[in-house]
């Protein structure tokens, strides 16, 4: 039988890959399709992974579905940007609007473990005020969550993922020590530190989800720098090597290469299972609860594609907001050349950070941003250079020659939620016959003002450290959020604080799409913290008799 994870499911016949041992297997429980399981979770990434693990650990019968393959990082992952595009969601999606998003490698994973298999591991907490940004800061929308409660779940997520970070973190309220010591910084990260100091700003080693000392079967990070195309050593604490093995050990089943095309609803208007495509055919899995965790594009797409006579606008969409308020984060950068050799590709790409402008409110726009050091690999770097500077021909090859002297600072900035930035269904269909997503995005004045502010700051920082040939990458955006926002009532939001949909009591959404605002830091740790909270809340609701089984 073929062992190509892209074409043949691996989690079958009572076993799943043991990601820590070449050729190894771990036992896996299997549930019959006809009998309803307690929970079906669609998506196994930053949100789905911890939910599957925590619910299974509490004794529930859980199946995690993922459209993507079940990789064995030690055997399957090459040190190669191009062939590792196997990690990305490469099925077609249409992009339009005034500033069409770039998807695929930029923000969309498809694998057991979701986008955490190829993410850059930056693991940050929100600034507390962002959970009430409407009330406290005058923009966006309030979350129905309390920051102090979130602080506890952040700590739990940091322990679960063995985050390596500094002894004391310069911004925000006190937090416990990071479980693992911070990583050594590279030449590119040192440039950020010197630049920040020259500006009078604080900087820190970036808290990262890759271990700085052995942990269980994970060896310490070896600084190979291919993190964004998959870690072949298992140092990276992705969901694939953390929560998913825990989930299996606790009795969960994982179905890889299983694309859910439709959530089924019974006569009473409750979710009753999912139709999914696996091994060349459609199947049905019955379930008492369905949790969608497919991220900000596939989640609304699935809800919209599941429309019925009773729910003609799609499931959980009484508010009409499914797919609305999509947010990306601004990811502009400033680059320059140093006289010394830097070799910025060594080590994880973002080893230092300054969150100065997340915690400083004296500015003429809403929202915050941070910036981090950079270390793109050649294909990614050539795309940034050629795309932004419109370089081709001999001029491009000449500039690419400076690769080992290059340094850069890249922002992660808060774009504000807008009703018209959205995911809807296109007329075209994919290989399963399902309508594909159309993603519409335009920047607004506040977004543009923040970007210009950040570009000016980052440029000044590079000038202060003596970089030359400085230029601005004006167009890049990255992480996604929104499209199924949480809130405190069913008119202005899709789910409540527990990620439970207002319309269908046994349909839940728990991933990046529940964010009402996106903050000025990378989103995964917040997604994971919310998922840990949701698992606890489900148990409490069950105990209180508010959950039917």
């Amino acid at each position: 039988m073929s062992d190509d994870p892209m074409t043949t499911p691996r989690a079958m016949r009572g076993r799943a890959p043991d990601v820590f041992h070449p050729g190894g297997w771990v036992p896996m429980k299997e549930y019959p399709q006809r009998e309803p399981v307690d929970f079906v979770v669609i998506g196994t990434g930053a949100g789905g992974g911890p939910l599957i693990a925590r619910l299974a650990e509490r004794g529930y019968a859980v199946i995690g579905f993922d459209a993507g393959p079940y990789f064995r990082p030690l055997e399957d992952f090459a040190s190669d940007e191009t062939s590792q595009s196997q990690l990305f969601w490469t099925d077609e999606r249409l992009v339009d609007g005034a500033n069409p998003l770039r998807l695929g490698s930029n923000n969309s994973g498809r694998a057991v473990g979701g986008s955490t298999v190829h993410y850059a591991m930056v693991s940050l907490r929100f600034r507390p005020e962002w959970f009430k940004s409407r009330t406290l800061l005058g923009y966006g929308a309030d979350w129905p969550l309390d920051w102090q409660e979130m602080w506890r779940y952040y700590a739990q997520a940091e322990r679960d993922l063995a985050i390596a970070g500094p002894v004391s973190y310069p911004w925000g309220p006190k937090r416990p020590r990071y479980p693992y010591r911070a990583h050594e910084i590279n030449g590119a990260a040192e440039v950020l530190a010197r630049g920040a100091e020259a500006m009078g700003y604080q900087w820190a080693e970036t808290p990262l989800a890759t271990v700085s000392a052995p942990r269980g079967e994970s060896p310490p990070c070896v600084y190979r720098g291919f993190c964004r195309v998959g870690c072949s050593t298992n140092a990276k604490q992705s969901q694939l090597v953390t929560y998913i093995p825990r989930a299996l050990a606790a009795g969960a089943e994982i179905r890889d290469l299983a694309m859910v095309g439709r959530i089924a609803v019974d006569a009473a208007g409750r979710a009753c299972g999912v139709h999914y495509h696996r091994n060349g055919a459609w199947h049905f899995q019955a379930a008492r609860n369905v949790i969608v965790a497919g991220y900000a594009i596939e989640t609304p797409r699935l809800l919209l594609n599941s429309a019925t006579d009773r729910f003609p606008e799609g499931l959980a969409n009484g508010s009409g907001l499914v797919g609305r308020y999509l947010m990306t984060q601004s990811n502009q950068a400033v680059y320059g050349v140093m006289d010394e050799i830097v070799r910025w590709n060594k080590g994880p790409p973002s080893l230092t950070i300054t969150e100065h402008w997340n915690y400083e409110d004296r500015k003429d726009f809403h929202g915050g941003y941070c910036w981090m050091a950079q270390g793109p690999l050649p294909v990614e770097w050539s795309a940034a250079l050629s795309g932004s500077r419109r370089l081709w021909g001999a001029a491009l090859r000449e500039k690419m020659g400076d690769y080992n002297h290059q340094v850069g600072l890249k922002m992660v900035g808060e774009m504000l939620p807008h009703f018209d930035n959205r995911v809807s269904l296109a007329d075209e269909t994919d290989r399963y016959g399902l309508p594909i997503a159309r993603v519409t995005y335009s920047w607004h004045d506040n977004d543009k003002a923040m970007i210009q502010h950040a570009l000016g700051e980052m440029q000044r920082s590079l000038e202060l450290v003596g970089a030359r040939d400085i230029w601005r990458q004006e167009n890049d955006t990255n992480h996604l959020a929104g499209t199924a926002r949480m809130g405190s009532d069913g008119k202005s939001s899709v789910v409540d604080a527990d990620c439970r949909s207002w319309d269908i009591p046994n349909l839940w959404i728990c991933d990046g799409s529940v964010f009402p605002t996106t903050g000025g830091v990378n989103p995964s740790l917040t997604i994971t913290a919310i998922a840990l909270r949701t698992a606890d809340r489900i148990c409490e609701l069950h105990r209180a008799g508010d959950l039917r089984f």
């Binding site: 992952f77 339009d96 770039r102 190979r224 080992n404």
Partner: protein
């Protein structure tokens, strides 16, 4: 074009059997180096236009075998390997490339009464720059936006193919594949022995000897 060899003697493929490569990497690189040199998806005429465009987008020195760029584009089209998003104003990539190549050929005939691949480099560049700036002759483009095709496909696809090739890594001094060994010396001006040395003025011979030892 003057080509300064910044990393003389460096060959990233010499690390093939070192701890910087694993089996998955060797397999991926074998596939990369074995790309077909003949079109499977495009017609011979389209292929000729594509080869000419690739030579202008990434001109290569004659002192070493060229990276067969057109082969990678044809392979991508043949496999229909997509990037995961498409500007709604463009057709799917296969159709876009076919239309785009036909448009460059039509423009060459219209303006110069010659095939695109027979034009001299300057004239080819001029047509490419027109497309880039959206100043092309719309009649040749059959409703497709030339500047969008230029940035999304001509630039993206060809440049990505070049910098995915070990030959380009030698040129820019990139360490190449790095697993499971990784790196040890992280700071500025520090070099692991399995990374190339950059030549300054006058020390090329010494650097070349050193780079021949990089494994």
């Amino acid at each position: 074009m003057t080509d300064r060899d910044r990393y003389p003697g460096y060959d990233v493929l010499a690390k093939r059997h070192s701890l910087s490569w694993n089996d998955a990497t060797r397999k991926a690189m074998d596939a990369r180096l074995g790309v077909p040199r003949e079109p499977r998806f495009l017609s011979q005429a389209e292929w000729a236009t594509l080869v000419a465009i690739c030579e202008r987008i990434v001109p290569q020195p004659t002192s070493r075998p060229p990276v067969p760029l057109a082969g990678y584009i044809d392979q991508k089209l043949n496999d229909d390997a997509r990037s995961g998003f498409r500007n709604a104003a463009l057709p799917p990539q296969r159709e876009a490339w076919k239309k785009g190549l036909a448009a460059f050929e039509a423009e060459a005939r219209l303006r110069h009464d010659m095939s695109f691949h027979c034009l001299d480099g300057e004239r080819q560049d001029e047509l490419l720059r027109c497309a880039e700036a959206g100043r092309s002759d719309a009649s040749a483009w059959d409703g497709m936006e030339a500047s969008l095709f230029f940035s999304e496909h001509v630039m993206n696809d060809i440049i990505a193919a070049y910098y995915a090739h070990p030959t380009s890594w030698n040129e820019i001094g990139f360490g190449g594949p790095a697993g499971p060994r990784g790196y040890v010396r992280m700071r500025r001006n520090r070099r692991d022995p399995w990374e190339p040395v950059e030549a300054g003025s006058g020390d090329e011979a010494r650097v070349r000897r050193e780079n021949m030892r990089v494994r």
